[in-house]
Symmetry: C3
Subunit: 139 residues, 3 copies
Amino acid sequence: MNYRAVEVAGEYVASLDNGADWREEIESLADKVEADAAWFNAMGAVQDAEVWFYDQDDQEYRSVAFDEPLEVAACVGNVARLDGERFAHTHAVLSRRSGQALAGHLNAATVFAGEVYLRAFEEPLEREHDEVTDLDLWL
Amino acid sequence: MNYRAVEVAGEYVASLDNGADWREEIESLADKVEADAAWFNAMGAVQDAEVWFYDQDDQEYRSVAFDEPLEVAACVGNVARLDGERFAHTHAVLSRRSGQALAGHLNAATVFAGEVYLRAFEEPLEREHDEVTDLDLWL
Amino acid sequence: MNYRAVEVAGEYVASLDNGADWREEIESLADKVEADAAWFNAMGAVQDAEVWFYDQDDQEYRSVAFDEPLEVAACVGNVARLDGERFAHTHAVLSRRSGQALAGHLNAATVFAGEVYLRAFEEPLEREHDEVTDLDLWL
């Protein structure tokens, strides 16, 4: 396990725009506050969602699209540099009217309403290709 | 997207009372520490739960009640002022013995055991009616 | 409800080792930074998982094993002393390729990739037996 002590650079609450993309909104927040490393939590609701599952054998992401309104019951993620841009690695747990939960890596989702807490760190995080997983990991 | 830099006013860990209401306990914590804005995480177990799903077309909450013991696998939320009171906007992911996950806006739940981390901010958050979503949103 | 104001002792980001145990990695991080109390968030993917559900009537944990790759959509937990060791009380929401979510108390899981934010507190937390729930609780 690799770890790093971090110092806070700033902390923020944000309200996401109805109709915008969930992940792009978080990346836009990171851009505005110039956060090259951050941890975030979020919650709210989306009008649809595209969730990814990583196939650990084939080392490819598999996409599942949900074209329906969903609650965002929990959203956990972090911001790092990837290929020169700020990337918000975003996981989310979504739910249907029945209470059924869906979850995964959130690639895209249309915001209905979203509330975010983002904690930016002084030390930048940089994603680099990892041989074992074929993922872009930091540290 | 609207955002605000916040300053921490205090941070707290709490253990919720068996038999009490999950959300009321968090609001009681906010009252005790006089937090008019806060972000929280929690986990534990409940004896039952009432979960809400927001119908984005009809703009009404739909309730689903689970009258059974459930783990609280993840609980994410925030505290803001709403109609002059402290309101804990609480989302949760719950689970059954089979591992099946349920999730949504947690209106009420009877605590079995609960552990909370709450981070209070200096700047109050106030919920106000939003025309587009018919929800009470902050910022 | 019992609560305590806490002071931060340090905050850390960590990347978990592929093939290691998810919870042990977090406990190893707590050991390295000498955190006798901490709150954490994590996300990533695992190769398998053993999830526990607490039977509130029989007051016994029931185990469910998932021998398949899963996303860790959300992981929330805390570190405290238990029987003289650092214990990471770990809850997680996992997901399958279909997007189906599973959740519960995460006893063990083989890391595929894991990203953690851990916030250590100055004041130690100690778990002690609770008569009502037959669980080891803090505060």
